[in-house]
Subunit: 122 residues, 2 copies
DNA sequence: ATATTAGTTCGTATATTTATAAACTAATAT
DNA sequence: ATATTAGTTTATAAATATACGAACTAATAT
């Protein structure tokens, strides 16, 4: 009883921190930015060339990633170079991609089953 | 040139699907639910005993997880038993936890450095 | 038939996120 | 000094997410 409460208080904040990292990963543009950063350091101009969004928007998305502590920025003259600050994020993103693949495989299987049943009904 | 656009279109939807999974993981209560489900199948009553939230709220959170395809529900009499439908989500969550640890270690290191510098200034 | 229990849906208020244009700051070049 | 370029901030509108009580549905028990 007492023990349960203890653990729950301690874990509450961990879940919040973990949720915050997930939130930062919850936008397609930010995932694309990260994919680009997995290749190495990039500046905003590099990113804007690939991402089809206005610069103000990119700035906001980078701010979200910085705020979550996932990326860091280095200023060089007029340019800002951004890079990962938590390398493990790469593995995490790839594993989420793996979950997606697992999901798609499952859906495929279920669709097949459905087709089979429909065929049997005729 | 042409190639770039092609890839970008194909990946756009993948990033969206991936972002949707991350969104489902972006709330502390849902992360706690998943942690409970890692132990095995649970019904809502089990979950409500641990989570300190109203049942309507739990229902909504479960709906988000179901919608993302992460959990599935089995009805038995009055009870609904929920369980993971994508087992890999466990690894993904643990890896995100790993990112969090990496972040905390980094912050610790930076704080240490800061303290050292402040000491040197005296 | 009625009451009870498990869970969902609805209505509503509030907060957060996002997109975009416009104004801004700072560094560099002329 | 002025213009240009990179990037941020601000203001605003729109969309999405969340919380939670109340009303609801469905299964079970009496």
């Amino acid at each position: 009883m007492a023990k349960k409460k203890e653990v729950s208080i301690k874990n509450k904040t961990i879940y919040e921190l973990q949720a915050k990292i997930c939130s930062a990963l919850s936008h397609p543009v930010r995932l694309e930015i990260l994919d680009l950063l997995f290749e190495g350091e990039k500046n905003s101009t590099d990113l804007l060339e690939v991402l089809d969004i206005p610069k103000a928007n990119l700035s906001q998305h980078l701010a979200v990633l910085k705020d979550a502590g996932i990326i860091q920025a280095r200023k060089e003259g007029v340019f800002q170079y951004v890079s990962l600050s938590l390398p493990k994020i790469k593995d995490a993103c790839h594993l989420v991609r793996g979950v997606l693949l697992e999901k798609m495989a499952l859906e495929e299987k279920q669709n097949m089953q459905l087709i089979k049943e429909l065929r049997a009904q005729r």
